[in-house]
Symmetry: C2
Subunit: 202 residues, 2 copies
């Protein structure tokens, strides 16, 4: 069985995915399929031919980000100092989520989202368990910390809205620093990234 698509079909598929990634990142999950089709210069039916449902499109569009997430966790695990590794993971994950609203939403939602994404996410989070245990053992991470606190922090991070992506990332950066402060076992006050003027928009 040759699973090669016709050249134009593959082109379209790639273009749709690229456009979808951009659109979902910038505008969130509820960008209409129609709009994506428009930007990809394709009819709506073509999108549905390549992705039977909107959810399938989401899953594929976010696959890349999903692997980035596990890469981030891998980096954290590889760090010599487990606490620094943990901080790295939190900071990078939050930045990633701040840069891609759609992915952030997909990552923290389980209900209608794809089973595939949820499974990947759970696998990634479970990898974190090791790092968490080591950071606790090193006496840097509070003992009553649980993995769900990561989900909590990521969901909370998702609540941060701002006029521009740049502002959102800046606010998210400060927020991550705050969360890390609160996760410390024997807290030491550390300087924070600069505050962000929040026009509270969108």
């Amino acid at each position: 069985m040759k699973d090669r698509l016709r050249s134009d079909a593959r082109d379209n598929r790639d273009r749709i995915l690229a456009v979808a990634r951009l659109a979902f990142a910038a505008d969130g999950l509820d960008v209409p399929i129609r709009e994506i089709a428009r930007r990809a210069e394709v009819g709506p039916a073509t999108v549905y031919r390549h992705f039977q449902t909107k959810e399938a499109l989401l899953t594929e569009a976010f696959a890349e980000q999903m692997t980035t997430c596990s890469a981030v966790v891998a980096e954290g695990l590889a760090a010599a100092d487990p606490w620094r590794g943990f901080c790295h993971v939190i900071e990078r994950l939050m930045e990633l989520h701040a840069l891609d609203r759609g992915f952030a939403r997909a990552f923290t939602s389980a209900l209608p989202a794809s089973a595939g994404l949820a499974a990947d996410r759970d696998r990634t989070l479970r990898l974190l368990l090791d790092l968490v245990a080591r950071a606790k053992a090193a006496g840097r991470l509070r003992r009553d910390f649980v993995l769900e606190d990561v989900s909590l922090a990521l969901m909370a991070n998702e609540g941060i809205r701002a006029a521009t992506p740049e502002l959102r990332v800046a606010a998210s950066r400060r927020f991550a620093a705050l969360m890390l402060q609160s996760f410390q076992a024997d807290p030491v006050a550390a300087p924070l990234p600069p505050p962000v003027r929040l026009p509270l928009s969108r």
Copy 2:
């Protein structure tokens, strides 16, 4: 000019407001006007007769919650210990917002929301400035804390979703405790409310 409504009109108006409060609290701001009309056993036109726009309905529906917010801040200001007062404000505000998704959204949004609500919110937050200053002076609140951090925390709190309101409140409680940890000037690790199993729904 007598501004008394006909008895049935006043009844309907009250019923619509009551239903709207419940609906917005449970399901967020984008409950269709029609749905509210349905639950109030009223035609859509009747809702529009009493509230020219959806935003007007929102403003009136949330007036109560808005005053509760200032009351909470007033309580905080009245506390003997400014840090404890500050904690009280944060905890109560977050609980309130967790109990009423719609209000939480309205409170942290400025753009399309009513000018009235935004003004009330800003007034309330500005009241907090005094408490913040005193808590800093008492050496309990970190010096680099800014008022925007309250908005940041409230927005983040809004990101917390859960299967049931009870779970949401529980998660929010833990989140508030975490944020307060990070706001301390000379942090002392304090026990946290219990973690919440997050099925990550809705």
